[in-house]
Symmetry: C2
Subunit: 112 residues, 2 copies
C-alpha cells in the first residue's frame, strides 16, 4: 500500500478502470443529481432529462454494481429509493477536478 511506484501499464490500467466506471453520457449527471437530493426514480429522471427510463434503469444498475448507489425497497407504502452510497463520496475529489478542468478548458478552447 506504500508502493507509490506504479508502472506505466498499471497507471493505464487504473485510469481505464476509472473511465469505465464513470464515463458515458449519464453516469455523473445522475450522481450529481442524486447528491442534490433526488432519490426517487422519476425524480432522478426529471432532473437529468431527456434521459429515458430504459437508459436510467441500466445506468442505476451499473452504478449499483459498482457500489456507488444503493437501491432500497420499502413496503407500506411500497416505494423504491435510490441513494448515493458512503463510498460514492470517494469520487468527490475526482469529480471536483473534472468540473475545474472542464471549466478552464472551455475558456482555453473558446479563445480565452
Amino acid at each position: 500500500m506504500k508502493d507509490k511506484e506504479l508502472t506505466t501499464e498499471q497507471k493505464i490500467k487504473y485510469v481505464q478502470d476509472t473511465l469505465f466506471v464513470i464515463s458515458g453520457k449519464w453516469k455523473l449527471p445522475i450522481l450529481i443529481a442524486m447528491n442534490q437530493g433526488c432519490y426517487r426514480f422519476r425524480d432522478i429522471q426529471r432532473s437529468v432529462l431527456p434521459i429515458t427510463t430504459r437508459v436510467l434503469s441500466r445506468e442505476l444498475k451499473d452504478l449499483e454494481e459498482n457500489k456507488l448507489v444503493i437501491r432500497t425497497v420499502y413496503d407500506a407504502p411500497k416505494t423504491v429509493e435510490y441513494t448515493v452510497s458512503p463510498y460514492c463520496k470517494s469520487l468527490k475529489p475526482l469529480v471536483d477536478e473534472m468540473i475545474k478542468w472542464g471549466q478552464n478548458h472551455r475558456r482555453k478552447i473558446s479563445g480565452k
Copy 2:
C-alpha cells in the same frame, strides 16, 4: 473568476466537457505514453499497442484540437514529432486522481 458557486447544470456541463476530451479507450494511454518520452508516431503506436494507425491518427488529431498535443514537422531530415503541450500538464491532477481512484476501486470491487 471568483465565482465558485456553480449551478448543478454548469457542473454537469463542465464534467461532460472533460469526459468528452479525455474519454475513450486510447486518449489517456496515449498521453501517458507520450509523457514517458515517446514522440514519434510509430513509437507511440508501439507503446500503446494494439492500437492501429487509423485510430492513433484520429486520436492524435483530437488531442491536437484540444491543445493537449503539438504536432511539428521538420525537414532535413523530414520527420514528424508529437509532443505533449505545456497545457497538457494541467491534466496531471485529474489523471493522478483517476489513477488513485481506479486503484482503490479495484480493491473495493474485488472484495478488498
